[in-house]
């Protein structure tokens, strides 16, 4: 097991280096001038040249690449052009809200997706299965930015208008009067702010996992070892929960790794729509402002989280499936 993990970790090193390289070239070779931000009437060209030199943009590409890589892997993420502060400070501020959003979504989609999928499989072709199939197909085929806007419209705007008790805050992570709340109120306030963005992200992806789990369960339930379990005289509930579920979940674990990139790209939209103070929003702003160091660093962090996530998924798979462990 230890060897397996070590080998996986070692394999991740070239991957991470490759990602950093690709990010650097994609960002730096993109058309546009990062100093365009400073073009204003009355700024003399010498000053602009000075700004270029300060940011190191006067150097040829390969030197910039080399310098950036060295700095990057020694923990120096550079200095944001637009925010005029170290990138590391921005990441420190915006990474936690993104992880909260993505983390709660991740837990929610797997728990609800698996529960719904199993429920459908054991009630195959019954009304429960058909209704859930239609519902999950409905959400599965929905673009998440649109779903977010609709949820916002319904549960925030209209709910307020109609004076419903469950009106939810449409933007931000906390209310304006957060500072003056007791601890309990703060927890509730944060959760209320979390509901709409997480629901937007989750509904689409949970639907996918539910459909996949259902398919896996139906496949596994036809296997010979399920018949063996029944022939032992086990109650059906135990056959499903012990013998079928674990085997059905094996492929679902690999989905975990596949869903992480989707989760982060989805969270970029959701953060913009719901003004969530996370890294996704910072990336979008950074791209428009050609804030090279910021875009490179945040993209890299996202990529790193995805790599780590896939690694965790691989290890989980090995833990869950005894056939993998000794390979």
């Amino acid at each position: 097991m230890g060897i397996y993990i070590a080998r996986r970790l070692l394999g991740a090193v070239p991957l991470v280096l490759g990602i950093a390289t690709i990010i650097f070239f994609v960002v730096n070779l993109a058309p546009g001038d990062p100093t365009a931000l400073f073009f204003q009437q009355g700024v003399p060209p010498e000053i602009l040249e000075q700004i270029r030199r300060n940011f190191g943009l006067d150097q040829p590409l390969h030197i910039r690449y080399w310098r950036w890589m060295i700095a990057f892997f020694t923990g120096d993420f550079g200095y944001s052009f637009a925010h005029a502060r170290p990138v590391i400070d921005i990441i420190r501020e915006t990474l936690p809200p993104t992880l909260v959003l993505a983390g709660s979504t991740l837990v929610l989609i797997f728990v609800s997706g698996v529960v719904v999928g199993v429920l459908q499989a054991v009630r195959q072709h019954r009304p429960v299965d058909r209704v859930l199939s239609v519902v999950s197909l409905f959400f599965y085929s929905m673009p998440s930015f649109w779903l977010g806007l609709m949820l916002m419209l319904l549960f925030s705007l209209k709910a307020h208008e109609w004076g419903l008790p469950f009106a939810l805050p449409p933007t931000g992570m906390t209310s304006v009067d957060y500072e003056f709340m007791t601890f309990g109120e703060r927890v509730v306030d944060r959760l209320r702010h979390l509901i709409l963005p997480v629901a937007t992200l989750s509904l689409v992806m949970a639907a996918g996992i539910a459909r996949y789990t259902r398919g896996q369960m139906l496949e596994v339930i036809r296997q010979d070892y399920i018949r063996t379990a029944r022939a032992k005289g086990l109650p059906e509930g135990r056959v499903v929960m012990k013998h079928a579920l674990r085997n059905s979940l094996l492929p679902v674990i690999t989905l975990l790794g596949l869903y992480l990139p989707l989760l982060f790209s989805g969270s970029v939209f959701v953060e913009v729509i719901f003004s969530w103070p996370g890294m996704g929003r910072v990336i979008v702003d950074g791209i428009f402002q050609r804030d090279y160091p910021l875009v490179m660093a945040t993209s890299f962090i996202f990529a790193l989280v995805v790599v780590i996530g896939s690694l965790v998924a691989d290890i989980l798979y090995a833990v869950a499936d005894p056939r993998i462990r000794y390979d």
Binding site: Q223, D224, Y225, R227, T228, A229, R230, A231, K232, G233, L234, P235, H243, R246, N247, L250, A320, D321, P322, R323
Partner: protein, 345 residues
């Protein structure tokens, strides 16, 4: 009283393409300490018969009204699902064909054996485990106290089938149903597994239903034989009778198709065609389209006729022996190969 009495068992699958009468009026019985062989080609209804006895036939299959399964004086079809669970794995146990896929890949074999013991006998985890080790030793697995923690993929096919047998024997059942237990194994392992089964039968005195399409196995180990074709019993009798004087053309065809070491060179006899799909059994005698002896009378379905002492055959030839001679004199039929060979295979 027989241990298991199957009367007019009909298991039909109600599919969109029509009703598949996979098992269609099968009757037989098994006594304690007896080995009953059930033979027939793929698709003849052997496995569905076995699953019906366990009441494990899955939708859209159904054991039809009027079928009767009496086990040890109890009406199995009248039991609730809960009572039936107490029978499965406890009074009647089953071994399946594919040891590769019949064990759950994600649990150690010991757990899978103990599970059955714990559910029926309420033993503690520790007690069940030591019983599992004991069972593994009984079925001839070396180093059982270490093997008990192995996962199925760490064992060979033969070992896995031994584990399946250990699992089936866990609660010392009165009846063991073995559905082609050796088909997936190579010949030397087959012999070992069969030997093991009968050693255990002798020790525990259970009844065994051995489902197989291997007549060599039947000749070696069975007391009585039921030959199935197209969801029906076409012939039954003691092993000696069936092998010495097979009456039904289908049985004769099966025997003629067995390769033999002492007869070299000659071509193997084959039964032309395949078993028709169960949604479209032919009218009259179901073997008629493949039968070299078929004639007008065969458009009527024959009943099980007494072909000899304790031998039943579902064939009009029993009542019309002249027809048999007539066909064989003109060079047809299977009898030419079987006759006068004493029946030993």
């Amino acid at each position: 009283m027989s241990l298991l009495e199957v009367r007019d068992l009909r298991t039909w699958f109600h599919t969109e393409e029509g009703v598949a009468r996979a098992v269609d009026g099968v009757s037989f019985e098994v006594d304690r300490g007896q080995v009953l062989g059930v033979v027939g080609e793929s698709g003849s209804g052997k496995s569905v018969t076995a699953l019906s006895v366990m009441r494990l036939v899955q939708e859209p299959g159904r054991v039809e009204e009027g079928s009767r399964l009496t086990f040890d004086g109890r009406d199995l079809l009248g039991l609730t699902e809960r009572q039936m669970r107490d029978v499965r794995g406890n009074d009647i146990a089953m071994i399946f064909q594919e040891p590769m896929t019949s064990l759950n890949p994600v649990y150690p074999v010991g757990d899978q054996i103990s599970e059955s013991i714990r559910i029926h006998r309420g033993l503690s985890r520790r007690e069940a485990r030591s019983r599992a080790v004991e069972l593994l030793r009984l079925v001839g697995i070396p180093l059982p106290d270490r093997r008990v923690d192995d996962y199925p993929h760490q064992l060979s096919g033969g070992m896995r089938q031994r584990v399946m047998i250990a699992m089936a024997l866990a609660n010392e059942p009165d009846l063991l149903i073995a559905d082609e237990p050796t088909t997936a194994l190579d010949v030397t392992i087959q012999a070992q597994i069969l030997e093991l089964l009968f050693e255990i039968r002798d020790r525990l005195g259970m009844g065994i239903i051995l489902i197989t399409h291997d007549l060599g196995v039947v000749a070696e180990v069975c007391d009585r034989v039921v030959v199935m074709y197209a969801g029906q019993v076409v012939e039954q009798g003691s092993v000696d009778t069936i092998f010495a004087r097979p009456s039904h053309p289908y049985t004769q065809g099966l025997l003629a198709a067995v390769p033999r070491a002492d007869k070299r060179g000659g071509r193997l006899a084959v039964i032309p065609g395949v078993v028709p799909p169960p949604t479209r059994w032919p009218g009259g005698c179901r073997f008629r389209p493949r039968c070299p002896y078929a004639w007008d009378l065969c458009h009527q379905q024959p009943g099980l006729l007494a072909a000899g002492p304790r031998q039943l055959s579902r064939c009009w030839l029993v009542e019309h022996p002249k027809r048999r001679l007539q066909v064989e004199r003109s060079g047809g039929g299977f009898q030419s190969r079987v006759a006068g060979e004493g029946g030993a295979v």
